[in-house]
Symmetry: C2
Subunit: 328 residues, 2 copies
Amino acid sequence: MHIYSELLELFLAYLKNENLVQAPENLYEPYDYIMHLGGKRMRPILCLMGYELFSDESVKESTLPYNLAMAVEVFHNFSLVHDDVMDEAPLRRGKETVHQKYNINTAILSGDLMLVKAYDYLAQTSDKYLPKALRVFNKTAAEVCDGQQYDMDFEERSDVSIAEYLTMIELKTSVLVGASLQLGAIAAGASEIDAQNLYDFGKNIGISFQLQDDVLDTFGNAEKFGKKVGGDIIQNKKTFLILKAYENGNPDQVAALSELMSSKPSDEGQKIEAVKSLLEQLNIRQDTELLMAQYYDKAFAALGNIDLDDERKKPLVAIVKKLMFREQ
Amino acid sequence: MHIYSELLELFLAYLKNENLVQAPENLYEPYDYIMHLGGKRMRPILCLMGYELFSDESVKESTLPYNLAMAVEVFHNFSLVHDDVMDEAPLRRGKETVHQKYNINTAILSGDLMLVKAYDYLAQTSDKYLPKALRVFNKTAAEVCDGQQYDMDFEERSDVSIAEYLTMIELKTSVLVGASLQLGAIAAGASEIDAQNLYDFGKNIGISFQLQDDVLDTFGNAEKFGKKVGGDIIQNKKTFLILKAYENGNPDQVAALSELMSSKPSDEGQKIEAVKSLLEQLNIRQDTELLMAQYYDKAFAALGNIDLDDERKKPLVAIVKKLMFREQ
């Protein structure tokens, strides 16, 4: 069993050796660009961990299912390229987004190609496990599209419920975390039920991660978080924190929040502080962390259902804990 | 063996029974909209014909591989949705394009979903044939993206060769015609070599069709063609006709054509007539029809390599001839 840092090194070496560029270069260069823009590579590593969990005690590094790790990473990056077009985002991981660096048509078509290439990597799976892997991948890919659509729909709506928000983040971000683990497990010949439990572990951890992202965006330490704190507030995003505050606040607090969340102030810092102060009055951070803990517990209950030594689950547990408690 | 009109009816009945819309509706309605916009349904019908060619003498209508027919039709429509965004086209089959009716973000995301749904239909293939079908589909899908990129690249270039143009149309439109037939053949258990010959038949017929489209767009009878004649000329498209004229013309003719093809005249009819007259002087229509005949012969040579009774190939030959000689 390899730990995260070892698998990351192996995956990056594999990625480096893949020649992603071919003719027509205008199509493949953006694919190469986004794939080398960095990131934690969480999904491919979880895929490899899912494999090692159910495979031989001593998996040879050469036989790890890199193709599946690539499939989930290429898919994830495809979704970033198209989401950035839809959100008109200029930056991704501190660098220009694809449509910003090239143009919108290039971002659309290169994204399409990447989605096909994700399936191409998937198709390298042995015939024995390919049908099952393809069906998991299809379901997940459609759900990620659904999630992005809900996210866009919610921007236009003022009556989004907390249940709807949780469904949205589950679809948009968490199912792919679960599927990454599940695909690795499938390739290792795990039973249906074990693969499903591992999926449930990943999905619930993914929701917990996303809630944590919401918390850190507002309450995080700017230096450790690596992003501008308060970005969600400035963009008037209806995150869990805001929706919960609407639910918990008295009429005056709701009215004050509503006004703040539709304002475009000249002093951004003042707006951030005012919203934070309201959220603090209402104990929203604590409420969110409580919900995070519930998803976290649900995840570990699913992992507990998998009948393997705790020792074997250690690298997976270690990386999840590290990501979970990265910034408190 | 069913003939085209019978298979069309069966496919349309199948499509009608498929419930394409689910939540979130903003994502699935555009998918439903484009899928019911009509069209000849050439690719799905060819897919069913490819199946019947190699399957039992008496295929039951209930056991036709509708899932594969849907896969190629949904994929084709996905490519139309995204191409229309890239080309800023307002109309498709006489109706509003998806981005025109909804908006660009919807067209991007619904297109993405459709690409996933195409794979979802593909995944309904029996496990025995799925890996092979998936690999054919992936190769084809990537080539269609390549073709669209070359098409966009060529708009910016003034030195496109005829060989490059032929490669572009092969990738952008013809490989999917070949793959539609091939996928049907694969699902019927055809041998590798038979499926390949059928693919070659479809691909070469597809190139021939596209060249015919170029001819009809300029020399067709407006009423029969169903589109505005001269559209390619007005859009300054570098079709085979124009590239061939550049090759065959004397310096004066090349200069005249070059000026015409970069002009935006107030009188479109005059421009169309001037270009047509130049093309006629240079016998371009005859040259194009000669090349069409070469691809057509190549296609039928490949079909001839398939060791089946001519009787059995009849419905396929009939529809290809009908499409080929639709407007002379």
